[in-house]
């Protein structure tokens, strides 16, 4: 009987023991994650902070964008014992009115941030105040804010970082978001029994980030922006831009746009586009040098021949296309110099239409270069009909971005090659070593050196004695072409006679081209009543300013004889 009782008790003990073991297994193993989560919720509280992003440098190592450590100062008012002394101490350090702080301490109970973006140098003072007052519920969290020291200079190209997520929103910041790092990280605070944060337990801040080196030269960028401001001041256009690149490497040295914005306060701006990359426009007479080059290449034109420009109008497929002046007999150089539509059309009609369209595509028109977020491809959908070729040869009915124009004009400046545009030179690690380098690349040869050398003198004449002569430099030889395209006016359902796109594209110094420049304006206004709007007139002053200043900055010797 007694033996049986012992067995029963032992059996009960064993059952209880096994039940306990099973329960432990359930808690520790089967539902481990669930209970860990519950424990975390009970003991920890979290706060999100912005991580530092990689620095963006210009090509010479100057800072374009940096993350600056800042402090967030917070309090848990319900645990602050001496509210007056705390408010007074914080007011002295943070420069926030005492009454405001006292009001926060008296009216709020839980975790409250009293100041953001506080200078990190103040940290020792805050720690001393906390220690002196023994108020452990005055807290400090380190944060990072993105700072753009050059303000609006290159703003639309660099882009900005969201104040809410710490991630890139536009421009280079968006393009390189995966490499620059940043974003938010969760800091976990250990709570006491009452839910009061007492210490930082851990943070997931391990994130790989690189620094970026751009091809932009911030000084050239500033020169371009100053020149663009002049254009905007005198012409009040809807949009305008200047793009400068190195024709041999495709490296973009400056990209100035109007409208522009200051990335430090990006949220104040409604428009944050970069028209150099993101918009395409009809190019007008900028197309003419390409026509001439192709005609030279296919031996469809002799540079010494004369062409009758029909006194200012030509009929193609029953459509009358007019010139801006009544030109008579001109040779190909003068056709480019004076920008005769009739002359250019007559040369273009000698070309095979398909090959003409193919050449435009080879030059990079109608396709994205994929170097900037939201890049436009432009539109080259010309038909093979003579009237389409005629309009195409004077830059109507097809569109291009300023970037595409710059790359296409590089072909003339570098001996006939299409280069790949580059905006990001590379990525460097914290030791300054390149982990990725964007090597300049030649896409393909478009024209032979002989063809290019044959066309360039006509482009020099454009600046020396032609449509852009007002922009002539006294020191350097510039080659280029002006362009004026009529805008389509939806009000009259036809091409407008008062709204224009104006262009200049060219390169300098002609002796050894180092820079390609594109100047664009959308609907520039006349300087005086009755002024004829044209690419030359609008761009001339800007061109002159840019050429001389850039060449001086690069310590280049004039290639013209000084008087």
């Amino acid at each position: 009987m007694e033996r049986r009782r012992v067995f029963i008790i032992l059996f009960l003990f064993t059952v209880v023991f096994i039940a306990i073991i099973l329960r432990i297994l359930e808690l520790q193993w089967l539902n481990q994650e669930h209970y860990l989560k519950l424990a975390k919720n009970q003991y920890y509280t979290s706060e999100e902070i912005f991580l530092p992003r990689g620095i963006i440098y210009d090509r010479n190592g100057k800072f374009i964008a940096i993350s600056v450590p800042k402090l967030a100062v917070w309090v848990v008012p319900k645990y602050i014992k001496d509210k007056e002394a705390t408010a007074k101490g914080l007011s002295n350090i943070l420069g926030i009115p005492y009454e405001k702080l006292l009001n926060i301490l008296n009216s709020r109970r839980n975790y409250t941030v009293v100041a953001n973006d506080v200078d990190i140098q103040i940290k020792p003072k805050l720690l001393k105040l906390r220690s002196d007052l023994k108020e452990w519920n005055i807290g400090i969290t380190e944060n990072n804010i993105r700072f753009y020291p050059n303000n609006q200079i290159a703003g639309s190209t660099i882009g900005c970082v969201s104040r809410k997520t710490g991630k890139g929103l536009d421009g280079i910041e968006y393009l390189l978001d995966n490499y620059l790092g940043g974003g938010q990280a969760k800091f976990i605070f250990l709570k006491d029994a009452k839910g009061n944060p007492i210490t930082i337990e851990k943070a997931n801040v391990e994130k790989l980030s690189y620094h970026a080196v751009l091809t932009i030269d911030i000084n050239i960028q500033y020169i371009a922006e100053e020149a663009l401001n002049e254009l905007v001041f005198h012409r009040d256009p809807l949009e305008a831009s200047i793009l400068i690149l190195d024709p041999k490497t495709g490296e973009i040295l400056a990209s100035a746009t109007y409208p522009n914005y200051d990335p430090n306060s990006y949220y104040k701006y409604r428009i944050r586009k970069n028209i150099n990359f993101q918009h395409a426009y009809e190019v007008g007479s900028l197309a003419k040098p390409f026509i001439l080059a192709q005609a030279v290449e296919e031996r469809k034109v002799n540079m010494n021949e004369t062409i009758d420009c029909l006194n200012g109008a030509i009929d193609v497929d029953g459509v009358k296309i007019r010139d801006h002046k009544r030109f008579g007999i001109l040779n190909p150089v003068r056709i480019i110099q004076h920008s005769s539509n009739v002359g250019a059309i007559k040369i273009a009609l000698r070309l095979d239409g398909k090959r003409f369209i193919e050449k435009l595509k080879m030059l990079g028109f109608g396709e994205k270069h994929d170097i900037f977020p939201g890049e436009a491809s432009g539109l080259v959908k010309l038909n093979n009909r003579p009237v389409d070729i005629a309009y195409g040869s004077i830059g109507q009915n097809w569109t291009a971005t300023p970037l595409q124009i710059a790359i296409a004009y590089s072909v003339f400046a570098n001996g006939g090659y299409r280069v790949k545009p580059i905006l990001v030179k590379g990525l460097v690690d914290s030791s300054g070593k390149f982990v990725w380098y964007n090597k300049p690349k030649v896409d393909r040869q478009i024209f032979s050196k002989d063809v290019v050398d044959t066309v360039i003198p006509s482009m020099v004449e454009v600046i020396e004695n032609g449509t852009a002569k007002a922009g002539k430099s006294n020191y350097f030889t510039v080659a280029g072409k002006t362009g004026t395209a009529q805008k389509y006016d939806p009000a009259i359902r036809a091409l407008s006679n008062s709204k224009w796109y104006t262009w200049f594209a060219g390169f300098f110094p002609v002796s050894d081209p180092k820079f390609v420049v594109v100047i664009f304006a959308n609907e520039p206004k006349p300087k005086y009543l009755g002024e004829h709007i044209g690419g030359g007139g609008v761009s001339a002053d800007v061109l002159k300013l840019i050429v001389d200043r850039i060449m001086f900055y690069y310590k280049q010797k004039p290639d013209k004889q000084l008087n």
Partner: protein
């Protein structure tokens, strides 16, 4: 008298026990001293590491502040404005520039 006797017996027993387990006691004592010293060393290293990390963090922050200052000072707009407005400088004309030919 009786207590004194008990004490003597207890001490004698303790001595016997110490004698019997002297190796174990020695090993335990050495281990204990070693453990305490090791803990002390770890604490010292950790505290030093904490201070160095704190210092590093402050220096990194200071470095960023200095970078910010440098970048603000190098702003071409600021330099241009100081040059033109405060120092009365103007853009140079090429006629005023002498180029020295180098071999």
């Amino acid at each position: 008298m009786y207590d004194n006797g008990i004490h003597k017996v207890a001490i004698a027993d303790l001595l016997v026990a110490i004698k019997r387990y002297k190796v174990s006691i020695l090993i335990s004592t050495i281990s204990l001293i070693g453990l305490i010293s090791y803990n002390h060393y770890i604490f010292r290293v950790e505290s030093e590491l904490y201070n160095l990390n704190k210092q590093k963090s402050l220096l990194i922050s200071e470095n960023f502040q200095l970078k910010k200052k440098i970048s603000e000072i190098s702003n071409p707009e600021r330099i241009s404005s100081v040059a033109k407005q405060e120092l009365g400088m103007i853009n140079a004309r090429y006629e005023q520039v002498k180029f020295i030919e180098t071999k």
